[in-house]
Symmetry: C2
DNA sequence: CTGAAAGCGCTAACAG
DNA sequence: CTGTTAGCGCTTTCAG
């Protein structure tokens, strides 16, 4: 057997050791500020490392330490400001905790399962958001004992979950709209596409039922402005026309607003529209919507995950955490009298 | 010397080998579809692996293969839709190429340099965006021979660069605004904060100079709506008031629009406003702006990086690529007569 | 076709 | 305080 001699090119700890005239153990210690080295030696090693522009291999270190010092997050997509904010909150907390961050958007890809499993092998713990992968993949990862947190997703076995409040606020929205005198409702969005949408629809339905108003069937629709526009155009062509279109998120609502304009209808006089998310555009479009603590969702998930990682061996608590959301009234749902 | 016995818990290739009654080499081969194993053996190994819920350790594999199969991307921040879109494009291409993605937002953190260096040790190549770290860090990473691509940033030595067109389109914008008859310009944004802003300001200045219009000093301002609002409020209080406020990006412009509204000024009759980015909100705010191929910027950077990684040992070409941008005229810059 | 064993770069006992 | 050395989990010669 001979050396394999891969065409590696990074400077290794051996070269630094040789240059500094010490052993690799001393280099390792010196570079990590161990107390077990003379300031003198430390300096010599430091100098040698600097001269060689040496950075320790993360692979070697992780393998020896038995940890990656990295967290992952998987989400269905990154389109629209929603996911980005969540990822931002996640990254921020992870960075503070000194952990690297791996991301993967599944985009409904065929090999999503494999990619997520791959990520599971690279991290000390991960967050899975929404319906990015099937339950059996989640279960399989959970079975390995890897720290795991589900975000905006229905619980799977005893995995920790973090999500925004949907039900209560959706009921509140229903009550508010009924208060405007509306009776013909439409719901734009596919409850089967995301747990959050299911929760919003359920809350709306419950609120309407309480008020004795007919509950509309949901109109499934992709999460894009364009899709919202065309679906809403169809809805607005119905007779009798719905008096209010409750949309599963702001992008759809913005599309509905566009459709209403194209149909020559005034909002809210002819048709009212509501969204969900409170994107920046919602403000400029005067859209009534629900504000979600997106960044905080990501940050919270990161903290829960970290707790699990630190608490190894894992004690799955199945903790469920729900973050509050807030109804934001603007002009698109109807005219509000001041005072 | 004894075994170290870390409290590792993952199933290893040894256990699979034992269970399948073969050597670890055979397991390794079987699981990676090597031709060198009987279908029979392969099946036996597969079964054993499945029963044990085995996933090969990425660390072990990477260390042995001498590659991470991961790419990194560093950006200054993730606030606002701009960066998210870039990251999305990057992730998408990286995923197609079978590579994991590491992200890091520096947020102007003090330890940004160390974090970026850390990432450099975890990936086979990385993209550095805007002013996320200082030139010397870029140079240092480049010196290690790690494949590197700069995004929306001034070139450093011979590192490949990808960026959006700023100068030409900014000149075009200047000409258009001068065509509206405007002479008193203001520029909101800090050219020192981002190379893109510097390019936009330079282009605007050049365009104005050509037209014989006085070039305004830039008004430095953070990249946030609120900051834009207050800076614009100050500008609008000046006498004589600027006739048009050219903003470094849409968020600032949206803030300027808000400020104008609060000051009781009509846009564009009393003051015109332009942005840059073409966020979704820009459309609903009627904002004249410049559309950038954000997703394509990320995707292009990912491809360039991949080329470098595949072409190892690296041959730095210092290739510079500029992606086109497009002026989008809406109502905020002035009234346009049809036809 | 399969197995034995040598590393990949680093950390951490252990023995000086 | 410092050096020696045994792994960490996997891939890959090299021999059979």
């Amino acid at each position: 057997m001979k050396a394999l001699s891969k065409p590696r090119e990074g400077v290794t700890i051996y070269e630094v050791a040789k240059r500094a005239g010490v052993s690799i153990a001393t280099v390792s210690r010196a570079l990590r500020d161990s107390e077990l080295v003379t300031p003198q030696t430390r300096e010599r090693v430091r100098a040698a490392a600097a001269e060689l522009n040496f950075t320790p291999s993360r692979l070697g270190r992780s393998l020896a330490e038995g940890r990656h010092a990295a967290n992952g997050i998987v989400f269905p997509d990154l389109v629209g400001p929603y996911y980005a904010e969540v990822v931002l909150g996640y990254e921020q907390v992870a960075a503070e905790l000194g952990r690297s961050v791996l991301i993967r958007a599944t985009h409904g890809r065929a090999d999503a399962d494999a990619q997520v499993l791959e990520m599971a092998a690279r991290v000390d713990g991960m967050v899975i958001m929404g319906r990015s992968v099937a339950d059996d993949v989640v279960a399989r990862i959970a079975a390995t004992g890897l720290p795991l947190v589900l975000l905006s997703r229905d619980p799977v076995s005893d995995v920790d979950t973090v999500r925004p409040e949907n039900d209560t606020t959706a009921r509140e929205l229903a009550r508010h709209l009924v208060g405007h005198g509306y009776r013909r409702f439409a719901f734009l969005g596919d409850p089967a596409a995301a747990p959050d949408v299911a929760g919003r629809y359920a809350g709306l339905a419950a609120g309407l039922k309480e008020a004795g108003v007919r509950v509309p069937d949901p109109v499934p629709c992709a999460f894009e402005l364009e899709a919202g526009r065309s679906a809403a155009a169809g809805l607005l062509a119905c007779r009798p026309r719905p008096r209010v279109i409750v949309c599963a998120n702001d992008e759809l609502a913005l599309g509905a607003l566009t459709a209403a304009g194209e149909a020559g209808l005034r909002v809210p006089q002819d048709v009212a529209v509501t969204g969900w998310d409170d994107l920046m555009a919602a403000r400029f479009a005067g859209l009534t919507t629900v504000r979600q603590p997106m960044r905080e969702l990501g940050a919270t998930a990161a903290r829960r995950l970290h707790e699990q990682i630190e608490a190894r061996p894992a004690k799955r608590t199945g903790r469920q955490e729900t973050l509050p959301t807030e109804l934001v009234l603007r002009t698109s749902c109807g005219t509000h009298t001041m005072g």
